[in-house]
Amino acid sequence: MKTMNIIPLFLLALSLLAFGATANDRYNESMQKNIQSVYTAKTIDEIQLAVNAFERIGEAEKNKWEPFYYASFGYVMMATREKEAQKKDAYLDLSLKALEKAKAINPAESEIVTVEGFVHMMRVTVDPASRGQQYSGLAMQTFGKAIALNPENPRALSLMAQMQYGTAQFFGSSTAEACGTLNKALEKFETFKSDNQLAPTWGKPMAEGMRAQCK
């Protein structure tokens, strides 16, 4: 009788554990699949598919910041591919909306703050003449915040380097500062490690592409 009692309970506990593990696996698995497709997507529609999936996962997993973070990043990627100014702005609005949700879960995450800066940076491209002043300052300030939160974040460093480079180029001044930041970014891309297997990995090719300008 006694053993009879214990064995099923043990079984139940085991199966629950297994179930729990499956849930987490399922989370990581679906996230990874969609993260890959954002990284490799060629068209806006393809990214939209992944973004929709992130939003679905985000709605179900109320305590995870990654789904909304990647949804937000996906919208920025959609904005980079969009030609029409009004739509570009609409994607950036959606990006910020998703980012707000991610921020509510994990306010001090450097990666989230980096994408926020990325959104500001993209705003400039819509109308550089009238927005450059306001948004490039805001972008640099936000990247500064992201670097302060995590000085090891290569994405924040490399986007900051891009802003610095653009400013230096516009005014014909020395690009030494920008290239210094870029070198730091490239270094951090090599050493960047995170306990989170869903941690972002984007940005390296962009930084490497910029390396040529700094020689």
């Binding site: 009879m4 079984l11 139940l12 929709n52 679905r56 709605e59 179900a60 609409a90 002043q133 805001l138």
Partner: protein
Amino acid sequence: MKGNIISVLLLLLTEILVAQTRISGTVTDAKGEPIPGANILLLNTYDGTTSDASGKFDFTTSEAGIQTLVVKFIGFKEFRQTLDLSASKLEVGVTLKEEVNQLEAVTITAGAFAASDESRRTIFKALDIATTAGATADIAGALNTLPGTQKVGESGRLFVRGGDGNEARTFIDGMLVLDAYGPAAPNTPSRGRFLPFMFKGTSFSTGGYSAEYGQALSSALVLDSKDEEQFSRTDIGLLSVGADVAHTQAWEKSSWAGKVGYTNIRPYFNLISQEVDWVKPPESLEASSAYRQRVGKSGMFKVYGNYNHSNFSLYDHAVGDPSVKVLQDLRNNFGYLNGSYKTSLTPKWSLRTGLSYTAIDNDVSLNALKITEADKGIHAKVAFDGSLSDKLELRAGGEVINHEYQARVDTSTRALGFNELIAAAFLEADVYTSNKFVTRAGGRVEYNSLINQGSIDPRISLAYKTSKNGQVSVAYGKFRQSANQQWLRSAPDLLPEKADHYILNYQLIQHNRTFRIEGYYKTYSDLVKFDDSAFTNNGSGYARGIELFWRDNKTFRNVDYWVSYSFLDTERNYLNTPYSVTPSFASAHNFSVVYKQFFVKLKSQLGFTYSYTSGRPYNNPNEEIFNNGRTKSYQDLSGNISYLPKPHLIIYFSCTNLLGRDNIFGYQFSKAPDDNGVFASRPIRQAAPRFIFLGVFITLSKNKSVNQLPSL
């Protein structure tokens, strides 16, 4: 036994987990058109999909029981339906309802030119004001390049659609400004008291404006001041006519900015000879300060204060005999304080409150005769904005406007003046029938203490989107404004002047190109008129016209240009006119072209503005017919260049009237005829053929990308 039951339960659980339901369907809009890209999900599960190009979707789920299907797509309301997943196959038809979205939806454009850095569907941006050649960073100067305005070069004020300079009123954060212009010598242009860089948004309305704005007969210029600054910085400006220094301190949720400036035109006038016989050219000292504080999640508290002292003196020579001259001396003190608080009360309602105070002291002496004027204004306002649904927005509020004015002539013991109290309430609703059609209807109730009378002014506008980028608007409204203080001080029982506006507008904005055409008809009643040297409200008038606007910053790389044309036909029987005539400030044709080009290699922006104004009427007492004279046309080509050698340094140069044209605004005549019975005349000219301005602006800030460009 127990163990068996549990095992069975476990088995059942697995069974349920394995059971799958296939859910399919089509997502369409209300018209049955398929919606691709919609996000379809089962709430709180991972299961879902995205609708394909024909709006179809199909996915399987292992979930069981009662679940909620959610379908989302931008621009549409979220769709929800509970599903019982006991069936193995479910077919769901999803019809999404359009969400009325303020950014996408039709906007009322009749009469209005909205300018903002934030809103993206605007024609005119705040930066445009600062970089328009010939405007010398003056708000009115830049707005004079838009249709609906008539250039009156000797005044500097805004003259809108046959209305005189007092009929265009300025509102800062919703609060009425008593006098938005600085003092100026007779027949020299005055400048606006408020600098364009203070504002994040400008809405210039040439008629048919919201019921929220009262005491404006022809035009409302609504300025929205900036929120808290993001960066701490110090700005230094060295100008050919003075210097200024400003400091901004930014904190996490608040900012403070202060500015002190000194202007003295004497050194400049010593270089460039002037039409005016200055004894002491204009000199002014100005200080302003602004504080912004974010309160809670959505509250914003703003205080702005401005103090200005200016003075000048000059000789005014008699027209017939220049050796007869009057020494005219002016000292003006201006103080302005504006506080406002804005917050959301509930998700649907927000509150705006404001209080402004203006005090102006004006001391004028003409030889030994001294005239002192004291002018005080208080404006308090409370307004509620409600978004009751995505289809209905309400605006309601009340305000009190107090205007106390006193003038005293030297020895006379009797002061002329009045103390006017206006209490008003307004209510207005925006009803969106769809994203394509909006109706704004409302009204304004006013009570005026001087005449002890109440009034109701209805306002209505409609806008309909004819295509993705094009739209038609119509507007009608009744407007009133107290008589000018010059007359009201002698006859405080004068009724307010009234106007009715009818406007029809078409606008097309596509790929950074804007086309706009607007026609209007306006009637004036109860205008002040002198009948047998008494002040009456027997005056009347009309104005009608057609206006065109074209702006393009797409066709040529780094080039932005706009073209405006206004045709105006107006007559008034008012003040001292013996019958209905075209007033001397009105010109039939106004045309302007503004051109700006950025040269990346030269790090410079070059701008030109050409303005043409057809001849204006003037009254020649030597002629039988009143106001029968016509000046020759006014033409001006102005240029400016801003050069940014370094991120924190700007060098700015501007020059008006590059071609040196001798523009004549009108003629003054001697008071009495000479021996031959002829009234002598003298043309009213520009104070100098050109105004040349050079400035160097330095910004000291940790953030190196910050400079003063937006303030130029």
